[in-house]
Each structure stands twice: as C-alpha cells, then as structure tokens.
Subunit: 125 residues, 2 copies
Amino acid sequence: MKEDEMTDQLSRVFAALSDPTRRDMVARLTDGDATVGDLAAPYAVSVQAVSQHLKVLEDAGLVTRSRDAQRRPVHLEAEVFDLMTKWIERYRRRAEARFQRLDAVLAEINDTTTNTEKPREGTAS
Amino acid sequence: MKEDEMTDQLSRVFAALSDPTRRDMVARLTDGDATVGDLAAPYAVSVQAVSQHLKVLEDAGLVTRSRDAQRRPVHLEAEVFDLMTKWIERYRRRAEARFQRLDAVLAEINDTTTNTEKPREGTAS
C-alpha cells in the first residue's frame, strides 16, 4: 500500500470508529460474523441505518461482506486495527521519551536544590 | 469519568484523529509544546484554519493550552491515547482469541482428514 493510500485509510478508520453505534457493531463482530439483521436487532434504528453504518465500516476496510451468499454475513477484518495501533504507539512512545527526558532534567534540578541545602518552603515556621 | 462521558470522549478522539492535518499536528506536539504560529508554519493553510483544528483537538482532550501566558503554547495530553489503545486492544484480543479457536477447529478437521487417508484434491492425476 502506498503512503497516501495508507493515510487515507487511517483517516477512514478513525472516522468510522468515531461513532458509538459503529464501535458497538465492531465489538459485536469480534464474537463472530453476523448478518445485517443480527446486527440491527439490538438497536432502536432501522435496518437501513445499520446498512449505512456498515457501508462506512466497509469503506474503511474494517469489515467485508461475502458477495455470493444469500445471507451476506459481515466479517470483521481485525488486522486493520494494526494500522491505528502502529500510529498511536509510535507517537505515544515519542511523547513518553520526551517526558522521561523532562523528568531527568527535573530530577537534576531537584538534586542541585537538595545539595545546596536550601530550606524547603513550608517546613520552616 | 462516567461510562457515557468516556464514550463521548472516545468518539471525539477518533473524530479528531480522522483528519491527516490534525494527526500531523499531534505528531509534531510529541516533540514539544508549540504555539499556533509554530504549528501553522508548515501548512498551506491559514492560522485561522489551524486554530479550528486545534479547537477540535482541545474538545477531544488531546491538547490543552495555558490560559495565562501570552504565547499560549499548545500541550499534548498523550495519556488520552490510552483511551483508544484500551478500546482497540480489548477487541483485537477478542478477535484473535476467536481466530485461535477457529484455527484449532481447522487443525482438528485436518487431522481427521489425514487419519482417514482421504486423498487430497489436486494430488491425484
């Protein structure tokens, strides 16, 4: 996959999961494939609304549907999660590394303060 | 945080990251706090457009800005990533567990096929 295509898919995956009903549908598909009817059952929305949510999940590559079978069960493509996880982990690690450097600097400042035996605020009355 | 509030924030975080410019801004903030001007510099968009993107990131809790300082630097709240990671990991694990059960079933079917010495398709001419 080209970098541009990956960026586009990542945008679509994040957008697809920004809706609580779609997240719930993905969550239920982790237990097994399901038909549109199965997926619509617990919601107070029409089968048509569920179909529209499915279209968004399909465009993001998060689910696929078999073209031939009568029931056309919906299947979760769980490996698409990796696309997000990789992005999140990369930047979380960078943010953490930065905080660790800040902590080291703060610890050093603290050490210097302790060594010069400057009285801490609030301890002297 | 209540479950409803968490669901709402998760929706906002996913929506905030569904835009490549906003993802890029988040990526750059992992290197350190930045002003709106700093953040706008590399893009062919107005400072106003960048401010609107920042507002979306702020509403999602992904960034904060100090209210008092003149420069009002933007700060990344990297721990918000955890909210997403927890959601993704939970369902990825469920999907993986299901695939492992399927693999076990397939392996068993395969064993049975081998034991009964049924010729495999395509090997006999």
